[in-house]
């Protein structure tokens, strides 16, 4: 069917106008936070915070020297003397059905269940290795990413299944992150790309960088951005992948890669990625915390030079503006993030940060001197966790 030229023109104009308006609007609608930072002076076990997990009103912070629990304004610390497998806590996962917390440490896996701690190590259990970089819960199974492959504990039978180079396409066994879901389980394999486990067929499949083990990007958006993966996040059947050389998004058919040079990423060095939904994600980099809403980017950090609080917004056209803010995460080196409603909790190299979402805050916020635009609130506020509004 042929469309008349006038109608075609009008339609195109409308589409462009809507697109531009949307892009502009969303660029101005990036979330603003007031940051409260916790350090050892506040009771945090250690300032090197490797991971953070929100469990309702309770915040768990995995640090280099203990697991901290923040609740009702007070910190409680668990260390090996309290029964924890090791003081260095690398990863956390919550079994939402039972309320049990699974803790990956440098000395094994701990289960914290209503203050009772049980430890699973490579010596006393079937766990493949005591260095547990990642942990995730999928029904009755607890999946771990360890320095010697993947392990799966069946909590009903106690059976451990190990997955490594002998029974999967895992040619490197240094697994760094895991993201289990009902249908798929994804692993970030440091130096080995991404592994996918199909729950139904029980088969494994690997995804690798089409450029091979190089730092070249000859075939962008034709596959995983790099083999050195650090984190995976599988949400709404979309896979988000973090690497030390950029980030990737995979929808089951198409890949889209994000690099510092052509996105709002402040760095290609990513420690963690956490998807809000299929379009939105948070990126923990060595140069700040970044948020991508599907079109626009925002970066939160102490400025790299002055260390003053900084927020940058980059729109779809690549225009970057700085928003004047009074606070920032504790440090640029971000290791992890979790959501508490509209708030954020952020693990950094110098403390734990609580990003308190500011309602209507961008309306009064001003851009820093030299900026030509002013930030305004446009439309309804989106939930960063995607619970209230999901952008599709």
């Amino acid at each position: 069917m042929k469309m008349k030229p006038k109608i075609l023109f009008a339609t195109l104009a409308a589409v462009i106008a809507v697109s531009l308006a949307t892009a502009l609007a969303t660029a101005q609608d990036m979330p603003l936070f007031r940051w409260e930072n916790f350090t050892t002076a506040d009771g945090l076990p250690d300032n090197h915070v490797f991971c953070v997990l929100v469990a309702g009103d309770r915040i768990w912070a995995g640090t280099e020297n203990g697991l901290g629990r923040y609740e009702n304004g007070a910190w409680r610390v668990l260390r090996p003397a309290d029964g924890l497998a090791h003081q260095a806590v690398l990863s956390l996962a919550l079994d939402k059905r039972t309320g049990d917390l699974w803790v990956g440490t440098m000395g094994g896996l701990s289960r914290v269940s209503a203050d009772r701690i049980d430890n699973f190590t490579q010596l006393n259990s079937g766990l493949s290795n005591d260095i547990v970089y990642g942990v995730g819960v999928q029904g009755d199974f607890v999946w771990t990413a360890t320095a010697a492959g993947a392990s799966r504990l069946n909590t009903r039978t106690g059976e451990w299944a190990l997955f490594n180079e002998r029974n999967t396409p895992m040619y490197e066994i240094w697994t760094y992150g895991v993201s289990p879901a009902e249908d798929k389980v994804y692993y970030a394999v440091w130096g080995g790309g991404v592994l996918e486990y199909d729950v139904k067929t029980e088969r494994w499949k690997d995804y690798n960088d089409p450029d091979g083990e190089t730092e070249l990007v000859l075939m962008k958006d034709q596959g995983l951005i790099h083999e050195v993966t650090t984190s995976v996040s599988y949400v709404d059947k979309i896979l988000w992948v973090a690497t030390y050389f950029g980030a990737s998004r995979y929808d089951g058919r198409y890949w889209h890669n994000f690099l510092q040079k052509d996105s709002g990423l402040p760095s290609n060095f990513l420690n963690q990625i956490k998807g809000v939904d299929g379009n939105r994600a948070w990126f923990s980099t060595d140069k700040g915390l970044a948020y991508y809403d599907g079109t626009n980017w925002a970066v939160y950090r102490p400025a790299l030079d002055t260390h003053k609080p900084e927020m940058q917004v980059r729109d779809a056209a690549g225009a970057v503006k700085k928003i004047a803010v009074q606070s920032a995460p504790a440090h640029n080196y971000i290791l992890g993030v979790d959501f508490q409603g509209d708030d954020l909790w952020v693990a950094t190299a110098k403390g734990l940060s609580h990003g308190i979402r500011q309602r209507g805050s961008t309306e009064n916020a001003s851009t820093e001197s030299g900026s030509t635009e002013s930030a305004q609130v446009v439309g309804a506020r989106k939930s960063i966790q995607g619970e209230s509004i999901k952008k599709k």
Partner: protein
């Protein structure tokens, strides 16, 4: 041959009376010979055709007119008309029923079947089983939440609590409980469920045992608290007062870290209660023993609605202890320091001791609380007690066999503390419900910390002789007779017939269903791979493994033991000899910890920690995957 299943139920597999008679004759003769000569060293058989009932738990109908009695050995629910004292209906159940509860509206009765891993749902009006719901391994206690929508089931072998959607019958999730999770109680306001467990939680080697009361928030359906019970191993019934301010759990305090030779000093078991709740704040452990008399194996417990009395069955002492609650609370508040080891304390709050039948377990109050019903498990009857006068007023016969056969006699001996000095303990104190206790004991009078031994399973013992970890007892009569009498009980010895009965009973304890084998009996791929490792005769490089270092050489035969004593390098400097009796491996998965002294907390540790030189089988050439496979296979034995 006649067998008794795991829960001490005698069952006859001989169909014809003639065959039975033919069998009885030689067996009877054997028993007679044993009685006049020496105790039998092998299973004697019994010639029984009795099917005992073994009433365990009870429930009252909402109108208070009927008593529902769970009969563990006959796989039945017997319904008693209280007024007439007669059994009016018998409802067949699954195998080895153990726990019972009622739906909030009183229309459904739920009974756990511990051998089948199910719950029978019984229509209270028709008294027919309408549905069977799946649970975890070896379900015991069961309660419904206040809405009637969710059922909670304590699973003894899997150490967890199943959360079951009553409407769909689906198990929604399992909550981590204490090891040997067994008994549950709903708080009067319906907000919390309190759970206990009969084995101590895993702990470091040679440290005091610890247990917990698991507290579940019924709104969130998660565990929100674990009340620590220090120095406690073996927690049984738990009950709450009508106002919800006082909770009480029956428990054992084993003193397993010091030599059992100290029995004369009262240092083997403390029988006690843990009190918790607003009335006491936190948890308080209180003794029920007296200075020179013990009331062993506190089991069933109930609090009167007016909170004036606690009634407690002491299963190995064949009595009910009556506690004056106001005096108890007053005493607890006055004693600020822990006093659970002060046996003079009980005089301040124990109001009466009422003798009842053999192995009293479940207790229940009538609707007006004027009567207490006590299930005498090994008498097949119910004792009725006047709660005001604290005296027995009648006995309800549940209709079991009138003949007491050797098995039953042996079972009574096994479950009584009457043969021990001051009635401190019996076989069943350490072999809870004829299993294990998860503890390591300093049994020998050779000094503190020497010759520590792990408690061994009693399942399917025939063909596993000799006994003791050093193989020092050639047969079961020696193990159960002189050894037990001399070193354990130190008071009264068994007569020859008694010893034969006891041995007959112990030999009859069967192999529990293994939950790790596939339903068709086949092995999973991982288990198959593990079997190949277990049976291998060569190293990975093809070199022959010395015969004595092959798993299947020492752990050979139908019970996986060659019945010899060997040094496999697991001896400790505190052991008198490095020689260890090769244990059988039947259901080894259920009997952690491992090795002769229980120093290996898991099957894995046998090889990852305690086999550095490949002296206990060859394991150091295995990958972690292969070791996991081996363990998956061992779990199926």
């Amino acid at each position: 041959m006649t067998v008794v299943d795991f829960l001490m139920r005698s069952m006859v597999t001989i169909p014809a009376k003639a065959k039975l008679a033919a069998k009885i004759a030689p067996i009877t003769a054997l028993i007679l010979v044993a009685a006049i000569a020496r105790p039998a060293a092998k299973p004697a058989g019994s010639g029984i055709n009795e099917r005992y009932l073994s009433p365990l738990e009870m429930l009252l109908s909402p109108d208070g007119h009927r008593l529902y009695v769970v009969c563990q050995a006959s796989d039945e629910l017997r319904v008693v008309d209280i007024e007439s004292g007669k059994v009016v209906t018998v409802v067949p159940l699954g195998r080895a029923p153990r726990g019972i509860t009622l739906s909030p509206d009183g229309t459904q009765i739920y009974v756990t079947n511990s051998t089948d891993d199910t719950v029978s749902v019984i229509d209270a009006a028709t008294l027919k089983v309408t549905r069977t719901l799946p649970t975890g391994f070896e379900p015991a206690g069961v309660v419904s939440d206040r809405t009637g929508e969710t059922l909670y089931v304590a699973n003894r072998l899997s150490g967890d609590i199943s959360v079951i959607d009553v409407k769909t019958g689906q198990e929604m999730k399992r909550l981590l409980a204490g090891r040997g999770a067994s008994y549950l109680a709903l708080s009067p306001d319906g907000k919390f469920i309190y759970g206990t467990h009969i084995y101590p939680n895993p702990g470091a080697f040679r440290t005091p045992p610890n247990s917990e009361i698991t507290v579940i928030d019924t709104g969130r359906q998660t565990v929100v608290e674990r009340k620590p019970l220090h120095n406690v191993a073996g927690v049984f019934h738990v009950a709450l007062s009508a106002d919800g301010k006082l909770g009480v759990a029956a428990q054992l305090r084993p003193k397993n870290l010091i030599p059992l030779a100290h029995v004369e000093h009262g240092w083997v078991f403390g029988n006690s209660l843990t009190l918790f709740g607003e009335d006491v704040g936190g948890t308080v452990q209180v003794p029920i023993d007296e200075l020179d008399r013990y009331y062993s194996l506190p089991w069933g417990v109930v609090i009167t609605p007016d909170k004036s009395k606690i009634f407690l069955t002491t299963a190995a002492s064949e009595s009910v202890t009556v506690i004056d609650v106001p005096r108890l609370l007053s005493y607890v508040r006055a004693r600020r320091e822990p006093f659970v080891n002060d046996l003079s304390a009980s005089a301040n709050y124990v109001a009466a001791r009422i003798p009842v039948g053999h192995n009293p377990r479940g207790v229940l109050l009538s609707k007006d609380a004027t009567r207490l019903y006590v299930a005498n498990r090994l008498d097949d009857n119910i004792t009725v007690i006047d709660t005001k006068a604290n005296r027995v007023v009648s006995t309800i016969d549940l209709g079991g066999p009138k003949t007491i056969n050797p098995f039953r006699r042996g079972e009574r001996l096994f479950f009584t503390a009457n043969y021990a000095f001051q009635s401190q303990f019996g076989c069943s104190n350490c072999h809870l419900d004829a299993t294990i206790d998860g503890l390591q004991w300093d049994l020998e009078p050779d000094g503190f910390g020497k010759d520590i031994v792990d408690n061994r399973s009693l399942e399917d013992l025939s063909g596993t002789e000799p006994f003791k970890w050093n193989g020092g007892n050639p047969d079961l009569p020696t193990e159960c007779g002189p050894r037990t009498e001399k070193y354990f009980f130190r008071s009264q010895s068994y007569g020859d017939r008694e010893l034969t009965d006891l041995v007959t009973f112990v030999y009859s304890l069967p192999y529990r269903p293994n939950r790790y084998r596939l339903a068709n009996g086949e092995l999973t791929p991982a288990q198959e791979r593990g079997k190949a490792i277990f049976e291998r005769t060569t190293y990975k490089n093809g070199k022959l493994i010395p015969q004595t270092n092959q798993c299947a050489y020492c752990h050979s035969g139908p019970k996986y033991t060659n019945q010899q004593q060997l040094d496999v390098g697991t001896g400790k400097p505190t052991d008198r000899s490095p020689l260890v009796d090769v244990p059988h491996l039947r259901n080894v998965v259920y009997s952690a910890p491992y090795l002769h002294d229980g120093s290996a907390q898991s099957l894995e540790e046998i090889w990852t920690v305690f086999n550095p030189k490949d002296t206990h089988g060859v394991s150091n050439d295995l990958t972690k995957d292969e070791l996991n496979d081996l363990i998956e296979y061992l779990k199926t034995l």
